[in-house]
Symmetry: C2
Subunit: 136 residues, 2 copies
Amino acid sequence: MFKLHTRLKADTFEIARLELSRMLLMNDKSLPWLILVPERKGVRELDQLAEADRARLMEEIVIASRAIQHLYAPDKMNIGALGNLVPQLHLHVIGRYRTDRAWPGPIWGTGPGVPYTKEEAKEVCKRLKEAIKKAA
Amino acid sequence: MFKLHTRLKADTFEIARLELSRMLLMNDKSLPWLILVPERKGVRELDQLAEADRARLMEEIVIASRAIQHLYAPDKMNIGALGNLVPQLHLHVIGRYRTDRAWPGPIWGTGPGVPYTKEEAKEVCKRLKEAIKKAA
């Protein structure tokens, strides 16, 4: 059975379960930051996914990306699969701004971010869920 | 007509032209670092590519990734589309090591790297080109 890595669980809120991936909201309200975790056990690298899953993941990246662009109009999207600290395959889909804390550098590892309140997280997840439906 | 961004041209060596993307070698011999540039004019974001191109790009990421894993056996693959400095859509496919200069952080922006000599670059491009054929 697929189980979300404890570190991912601790740092995020669940937004939705897509066809392949769990879509999570990073607990950092300073920028729109989604994480996609394909629900496939033991996968660390992109090339370990089956070809159909890879194509589906690409489409889920696009869905996440369009939802962020629709709601937040960032200056640039950043997409990344790193996993140097958390081995479970996960994709970052992040809206970046010329004014954000790390621009033009990468955002990873530049925290601490600004956590959402419980109410804010609930509201943002709701809006993202609606945007995802439109983008899908 | 598609034209490679001057900054990408200056920082890389051309390895091969795949079905969709130009495959480049970043001029930094401290780690295996490939860049894929889909030959589509004016595209900045992944979701601006047509769906078939996106699926193809995913497969070319996998080809690049497998070539690196085959030749260099890194500890982790890092894949990213940032473009905060160079707007032309390009994908980084990088082999990371627990001993590299930025581990476990992202590698982008942590240079200067170590440039290849002309002969080294030629040799590495040749080996990568062969590895790509096997991975494709």
